[in-house]
C-alpha cells in the first residue's frame, strides 16, 4: 500500500510528465491559455492514460514478451492507443454527448500526445505490476492536470501584465514554463523522505 502511495505521489509531483520529463509539451503550451480548456484537456488525458495502460500492459505481457517481440513495443502501442482513442470518441459521442462536446477537439488530439505513449512504455520499463502500472498512469494523468491548471493560472496572470514588446507571446510563455518546471525540481526527494526512505 505504501508503495502505491509513493508511486502515485511521485508521479504527480516529482516525475511530473510535463515539468520533469518534458513529455507532452505541445498541449502544455498550446491548450493552457484558458482554465476551462486546460481542465478539459487534462481530464481527457487522465482518462486516455488509464485506458491505454489497461490495454497495452496485457499486450506487452502476453503477446510481445513471450514471442521476444519487445522491439515492436513502440509501433504496437501507437497503433493501439490511436484506435483506442477513436473508439472512446465513438462511444462518448453515442452515450455521453455532453462530455463529448466539452472534450471537443482535445480527444483526437491526445492520439498524438507523447505523454500517453511515454506513460505506457515507462510502465513496462519500470517492471511495475498491473496495479502499480494503473496507479502510475493515474498519478501521471493527475500530474499533467496539475501542471496544466497551474500553468493556465500563470498565463492568465501574464495576460494583464506589461511585458516588453520582444517577449510577448511565445517567448514569455516558454520562460514562464521553464520557471514553473524549475519550481517542481525543488520537490525532488520530498516524497521518499516522507515515507522514511522506503
Amino acid at each position: 500500500m505504501t508503495k502505491l502511495i509513493i508511486i502515485l505521489l511521485s508521479a504527480v509531483f516529482i516525475n511530473n510528465y510535463v515539468l520533469s520529463k518534458f513529455l507532452g509539451i505541445c498541449p502544455f503550451l498550446g491548450v493552457s491559455k484558458k482554465l476551462d480548456s486546460a481542465t478539459g484537456m487534462s481530464l481527457a488525458v487522465i482518462f486516455v492514460m488509464l485506458m491505454a495502460t489497461a490495454v497495452t500492459f496485457p499486450i506487452q505481457k502476453y503477446i510481445l514478451d513471450p514471442n521476444n517481440l519487445g522491439y515492436l513495443q513502440t509501433i504496437v502501442f501507437i497503433l493501439v492507443i490511436a484506435s483506442l482513442v477513436q473508439l472512446v470518441e465513438i462511444i462518448l459521442k453515442k452515450y455521453l454527448p455532453s462530455l463529448h462536446k466539452s472534450l471537443g477537439v482535445y480527444l483526437p488530439l491526445i492520439t498524438t500526445n507523447c505523454a500517453v505513449l511515454g506513460v505506457t512504455i515507462l510502465n513496462i520499463n519500470e517492471n511495475y505490476t498491473f496495479i502499480e502500472a494503473m496507479v502510475n498512469s493515474l498519478g501521471s494523468g493527475l500530474g499533467f492536470f496539475l501542471a496544466m491548471v497551474m500553468f493556465s493560472g500563470v498565463r492568465s496572470t501574464m495576460e494583464g501584465s506589461d511585458i516588453p514588446e520582444s517577449f510577448r507571446g511565445l517567448p514569455i510563455t516558454l520562460i514562464a514554463a521553464s520557471i514553473t518546471s524549475l519550481s517542481f525540481m525543488g520537490l525532488g526527494g520530498v516524497i521518499e523522505n516522507l515515507f522514511g526512505g522506503v
Partner: protein
C-alpha cells in the same frame, strides 16, 4: 524470413482487430446526423462572425436544421446569395438580405482634438474610458485604441490618426464592432445610404467647438438645406432619418455645406 514473419504477423493481427473493432463500433454506435446539415453548412461562408445571432456558422446551420422557422436571411456577410442557396436547400421562401456596413460616428482625429492627459495604461478602449472618459478632449468621441479593430474578423477597421476608420470594401456588416465600442460610436447602415454624421457629441455648440474642430455644433444648416427633410438636429446633434434620405439630385449638398465638415459621404 521467419523472424520477419513473427514480427509482421502479430502487428497485422493487432491492426486488423483494432480496425474491425472500430468499424463495428462506428456502425453500431453511429449517431444520426441530419442529412441536411452538411448541405446547409456548405452554403454558409464560414466567417463565424456571429452576425446571425448564433454561435458561428455551425450554430446557425444547426438551428436551421432543427427549427424550420429559423429565417434563412440572417447571414449578413453572405447577403442575398447565401439566403437564396439556403432557401433552395430547405425549400422555403427567402427574402433579400439588406447588405450593411459599419460606420464610425466620429471624425475627431488627433489634429482636430486635444489630449487631456497622457495615457500610459493598457491598450484598450474600455480601460481608457474609465480614466475620465478617455484621454481625448471629447468624451463622446473615438478613444482610438482599436478595440473594434482587434475584434473585427475581416480586419476591415484600422485606427488612423486616433480615429477608427472602416474600410467599406472589407466590411461584412457583422456588427461585432458595434457591440464592443464603449462609446457606442459604430452604427450599421445599409450600404446604399451615403451621408453620415461623423459626430456623436451632444454638448452645446460652443462647448463642442472648443473640444473638436470637426464636431457637430447643432447649427441646423443641414436641416434647412436638406430638401427631403431627412436631417433633424436633436439634442444638439444632427441625426439623419434614413427612411427619408434618398439619392437626391444634388447628392452631397449637406456634406458640402456643413459648417464644421462633420457630415461625410461614403
Amino acid at each position: 524470413m521467419s523472424d520477419i514473419l513473427t514480427a509482421v504477423i502479430p502487428v497485422v493481427i493487432i491492426a486488423v482487430i483494432c480496425g474491425a473493432v472500430l468499424v463495428i463500433a462506428s456502425k453500431l454506435m453511429a449517431v444520426k446526423q441530419d442529412e441536411k446539415f452538411p448541405a446547409i453548412r456548405e452554403c454558409l461562408p464560414g466567417a463565424n462572425c456571429g452576425a446571425c445571432g448564433f454561435a458561428g456558422c455551425d450554430g446557425y446551420a444547426k438551428a436551421l436544421c432543427d427549427d424550420p422557422k429559423t429565417p434563412v436571411n440572417l447571414c449578413i456577410p453572405g447577403s442575398s446569395a447565401v439566403a437564396k442557396k439556403l432557401s433552395d436547400v430547405l425549400g422555403v421562401e427567402c427574402s433579400d438580405v439588406k447588405k450593411q456596413i459599419a460606420v464610425v460616428h466620429c471624425s475627431g482625429d488627433c489634429s482636430k482634438t486635444q489630449d487631456k492627459y497622457i495615457y500610459q495604461g493598457i491598450e484598450n478602449c474600455q480601460a481608457a474610458k474609465l480614466m475620465y472618459g478617455g484621454k481625448g478632449s471629447c468624451t463622446y468621441g473615438c478613444l482610438g485604441l482599436g478595440d473594434c479593430a482587434k475584434a473585427c474578423p475581416q480586419n476591415a477597421i484600422s485606427v488612423k490618426n486616433g480615429v477608427a476608420v472602416v474600410d467599406p470594401k472589407l466590411c461584412i456588416g457583422c456588427g461585432i464592432c458595434r457591440n464592443i465600442c464603449p462609446n457606442k460610436l459604430i452604427f450599421l447602415t445599409e450600404s446604399t445610404q451615403k451621408a453620415v454624421i461623423t459626430c456623436s457629441n451632444h454638448d452645446k455648440g460652443a462647448v463642442t467647438r472648443k473640444l473638436c474642430s470637426n464636431g457637430c455644433i447643432g447649427c441646423k444648416k443641414c436641416e434647412r438645406i436638406c430638401k427631403s427633410n431627412a436631417i433633424k438636429v436633436i439634442d444638439n446633434l444632427a441625426v439623419i432619418d434614413y427612411n427619408k434620405c434618398v439619392d437626391c439630385d444634388d447628392f452631397g449638398v449637406c456634406a458640402k455645406n456643413c459648417t464644421t465638415g462633420c457630415i461625410k459621404t461614403i
